[in-house]
């Protein structure tokens, strides 16, 4: 187990180097000339080439990458071309906001996926099961941005019980309850698709487990149906459940990007969208790098957790 944890965590190091290379290559390939971008209308050919050489843009690709990597490892991601402040400082705040949204979504995914999947399996074939399965199929097929707009329309406009934009009220922040009130619709939006998938997988794993002899044995001993479901069967479903939750992290992060844009949530996704529109290359780079790094680390973490939960791997 310890060996596996070490190997899995160590493997993130080369992957992260690969990620940094891909991001740098991508930014390098973006259309447009950085020097001309910065100089704007003042760009003459001499000005631009002087700036290019002072920024090191005339050096070979690999030298530029090495230099950039050195800065990045020290936390220097450059200066935002639009906001004129260090990228790392802006990113820090945005990352926290995104993680608040992602954490809220992930808890919705885990709780609703587990209980809906279990309820569905316990009543397999009945009306409640069919309702859950059909709803899950629909939600697993719906684009995140559309789910967001529908929720926005239903609970922000028709029946305005939740705020439709931002993370806090404009009339002075009221702390955590205010943020929690704002996070409801975005969190539901980002959670919809992953929760649907987790529900489906939990349901089929549960049905599988309930049919096994040890459940029949427990039933024969007179264990209460609820205890059988939530203790005996759940313990066997847990590794599958944890694994599918981990696999949903990618969908969740992708969903968070769209959700932030629909609900103007001031996180990394929203920032990435704005920065692409404004052609703010250092900022785009920082956002992509941050999302990818968080994604790699959370994948490693979830792999380790899944392994720890699976009794058979001990």
């Amino acid at each position: 187990m310890a060996g596996y944890v070490c190997r899995r965590l160590l493997w993130t190091v080369p992957v992260l180097f690969g990620v940094s290379f891909v991001v740098f290559l991508a930014m390098h390939s973006l259309p447009g000339d950085a020097a001309q971008q910065i100089l704007g209308l003042a760009a003459t050919e001499e000005n631009a080439s002087a700036l290019r050489s002072s920024m090191g843009l005339d050096r070979p690709f690999i030298v530029q990458y090495a230099g950039w990597l050195g800065h990045t490892l020290r936390g220097d991601l450059g200066v935002s071309a639009i906001m004129r402040s260090p990228v790392i400082v802006i990113l820090g705040g945005k990352l926290v906001n995104s993680l608040v949204l992602a954490a809220a979504s992930l808890s919705i995914v885990a709780v609703s996926g587990f209980f809906l999947g279990t309820a569905s399996a316990a009543h397999a074939g009945k009306v409640i099961d069919r309702t859950i399965v059909t709803t899950a199929l629909a939600l697993a097929s719906a684009p995140v941005f559309w789910v967001g707009l529908v929720l926005l329309f239903a609970f922000g406009i028709v029946w305005p019980i939740f705020p439709t934009a931002g993370m806090t009220s404009l009339t002075g922040s009221n702390g955590t309850p205010d943020v929690l009130w704002h996070v409801v619709l975005p969190a539901l939006t980002a959670a919809a698709m992953p929760a649907a998938i987790v529900t489906r997988v939990t349901r089929s794993a549960m049905i599988d487990t309930i049919g096994r002899p040890f459940i029949a044995a427990a039933r024969g001993r007179g264990v209460s149906p609820r205890r059988i479901l939530y203790v005996h069967a759940a313990r066997n479903v847990l590794p599958v459940f944890a694994n599918v939750c981990g696999l949903q992290i990618g969908h969740l992060f992708g969903g968070v990007v769209f959700t932030e844009i629909v609900f103007s949530w001031p996180g990394i996704g929203m920032q990435l969208f704005d920065s692409i529109e404004q052609r703010d290359i250092p900022m785009v780079q920082g956002c992509v790098l941050a999302i990818a790094v968080v994604f790699v680390l959370s994948n490693a973490l979830s792999d380790v957790l899944v392994r720890a939960l699976d009794v058979r791997s001990r």
Partner: protein
């Protein structure tokens, strides 16, 4: 051999037809294909023609059953034309990416030592959520349909390649491959003649299940302004157009989303049906169920 293959296909097709959800998915998907192919015949108006006097009128407007958008264009016509883009952006990248991925996965799986290196490099691409990779590639290539298709093709390759790689590694020590090797078949012959047919069905089934997801990703990129450009009728773009008038005319952004859902649900039901029909165990169960 020919007989056996025919019987196999018949039994698969029977299992598929016995599954009402799969058949419903096939029917709906077929209807969407008809919409896309015959769009000029079916659409009551030109998708770009605008009548500003009727802009943002809702569902049930005389002559415009699904209303009009912010530029006074007929929603129904635009939805019908939108099926073209959505089908293209779902099918083309998956097919093109699949064609590129099969040789990669096959060679990487057969020559495992060198192949492992290739798959480790692919691991780096898995380190980006699909949407993020799409955003990155679309931003580099620029907007427009051909670039969108190219970006999504690149996104598909590592996923399908991984499926083919795993399938190849699992199959290459099976009896029929060993037998071919014992008979003196060359590597090339084993790969093309024995392993390719074996992994192809896995690749095709996997590809069918991701068409919906890729089409959603394409709509998402268009929603962000990185994919299809106006005035082309595209469901993702239409959803984004309606964002600012959500309180005045909710039909403008909700209807295209419904269209996307319908298409993806039909694809998923069809894909699940094919997967179940190809699974011998499930097929046997379905046959038993039918007899009961």
């Amino acid at each position: 051999m020919r007989w056996a293959k025919g019987a196999y296909l018949r039994s698969v097709s029977r299992a598929f037809r016995a599954n009402p959800a799969a058949v419903a998915g096939l029917v709906v998907f077929g209807a969407l294909v008809v919409c896309a192919v015959c769009a000029p015949l079916l659409a009551p108006y030109d998708p770009a023609a605008s009548d500003l006097s009727l802009r943002l009128r809702g569902i049930g407007t005389p002559g415009h059953p699904l209303g009009l958008d912010g530029n006074g264009r007929d929603m129904l016509s635009r939805l019908i034309y939108g099926a073209r883009v959505s089908l293209l952006t779902g099918l083309v990248p998956v097919a093109a990416g699949g064609i590129a991925a099969v040789p990669i996965g096959l060679l990487a799986g057969y020559y495992e030592r060198a192949g492992t290196v290739v798959m480790r490099v692919m691991d780096v691409l898995f380190a980006f959520p699909i949407v993020l990779l799409g955003i990155l590639l679309a931003a580099i290539l620029g907007p427009g349909l051909p670039n969108l298709l190219a970006a999504l093709t690149v996104v598909v390759i590592p996923y399908t390649a991984r499926v083919v790689f795993v399938e190849t590694v699992l199959s290459k020590h099976l009896g029929f491959v060993e037998a071919a090797r014992a008979l003196g078949a060359s590597d090339r012959r084993i790969i093309a003649g024995q392993l390719l047919p074996q992994v192809l069905s896995a690749a095709v089934v996997y590809s069918m299940t991701i068409v919906g997801a890729i089409s959603i990703a394409a709509a998402g990129l268009s929603f962000l302004g990185l994919g299809i450009q106006p005035p082309t009728a595209d469901w993702g773009l239409m959803t984004s157009d309606g964002r600012n008038v959500l309180n005045l005319a909710p039909h403008v952004s909700t209807l295209p989303g419904v269209a996307i859902c319908v298409m993806v649900i039909s694809l998923n039901m069809m894909g699940d049906g094919v997967r179940a029909a190809l699974d011998p165990l499930l097929r046997a169960n379905a046959a038993l169920e039918g007899r009961r």
